[in-house]
Amino acid sequence: MLFLGKEIPTPLTLASGILGISFSSLQRVIRDGAGMVTTKSLSIEPRIGHEGPIMAEFNGGLINSVGLTNPGIQDGLAEVEKFHQNCHGVVIVSVFGGNAAEFVELTKAVNDSSADILELNLSCPNVEDEFKRPFALMPDKTTEIVAAVAAVSRIPILAKLSPNSNDITTMAKLAEAAGAHGLTMINTLGHGMVIDAIARRPVLRNNFGGISGPCIKPLAIKLIHDVYQVVKIPILGTGGISTGLDAIEMMMAGASAVAVGTAVYDQGLNVFKSIRAEMEAFMETHGYADYSDLIGILEEN
């Protein structure tokens, strides 16, 4: 099938932030069955991110406050070059800037690389102390950044949206109007807090973090369903996918491809092989010829 003009063997994608720092792990995810991989969000300068614990488990998912640890755009793009030396998978480079000018600078760097698709992380909830509210909650910022990037980018742009927006359909329409070629949704929900009752303290060093995993799937599906009705650009669906059926459901709700994050934590890299096989089995059993036949076919009751 095609996603943003790229031929991919399966709509299954690695979400940003999971093992997405080195070319070698990205290649491994492709070998394990994914059609596309997303890098960790890259900023202009390297970032250490938050102190650990950066993740805490609860019944239904994870909270994380990685805080955008990354080696910086230059080193990150060097990994993308190494990736492409002997691997044909599609690489989505996720970038994060503190303002529109930084996003433009990042985009220019990506232009000079072999990256296939550019993802704008407008929605990280883990750097609010530093950067205030995520851009994806602010209509004017979303428009400004997407438009500025669209003016310079030589590759397709995905705008990554937040479930914490009160009105994600408006944000989606603004991103589309500003020139985004697709949307990635959703980023983590929250904040959530997991407490250690014995120590009387939050488990995370940063006290709270974004919520991901199976528990956010019904929310992701509802939001994708809503956004699918109002935009024409494709959606990269993410949020709680851990089985082939989850992926199929998300595509029926309107996603053109699907990205997996937290399930890697639950099931290891093997999850790509198993989800891909389950998706293929569903297609076979229920007589769908092509993944594109699934997109948005959900009918409301």
Partner: protein, 264 residues
Amino acid sequence: MKCDRQTLPIATIHEENASLRTFTFEGKLDATPGQFIMLTVFSQGEKPFSILNADKTSFALTIKNVGPFTDRLFQMKSGDLVSVRGPYGRSFSNNLGRVLMVGGGFATPPLLFLAKRLRAAGVAYMATINGARTTSDLLYVHDFDELSDRSLIATDDGSLGHKGTSVDLMEAILSEERFDQIYISGPEKMMLAAVPVAKHHHLRFEVNLERYMKCGVGVCGSCVMDPLGLILCMEGPIIDAQTLDKLEEFGVSHRGKTGRIEPI
């Protein structure tokens, strides 16, 4: 539940030397030698440490004060609460033939753990080599001595045992005796020197690697090793000879706190 945590007080603190302390905890850790845990000091951070010992009711860690986290830990008293999750990672193999352990510096905790387990399981013959810069840096001298059929010591300054490195002693013992398996745990430079020796004698061996680890459960990517994309926290820290051969980063480079590649 990969992140299942235990919050518990430090039971005892034993000063091994000026910069090394052994902390014990009363809690159950179903661990095997070579595995590690993630230790949280509240309001400070979380860091990986090898397991020195673990039985049904207690476990222990030996920790060197090297920076802010360990410094804060060294200010704590018995009774103070910390949190532990794990055990994580793969452990040493369980060879009950003729085994040799080669340890350097403060990377010996997993070797002592292994020595205890192999001895209890009826290992045929066990020789241990324990090396450090100077006598006061040597860990568990008495324990290795008790557990081993033959125990050797090397210090850089010659203050105890052989003057030189544990790799010197390794070369020597391999020319004298026959072994089925070598277990190596020490600073990466030391292991880099030990590996060709083991290969030269065509011996099966395993090494204990360290990389920057933040999640410990295969998610954050900080411990990944090129070009295999090996996830050291899950697929290591114990690595066998075949895998090590393909890890071009061994002895060359590692990723720092930002994920940036740095020379070792």
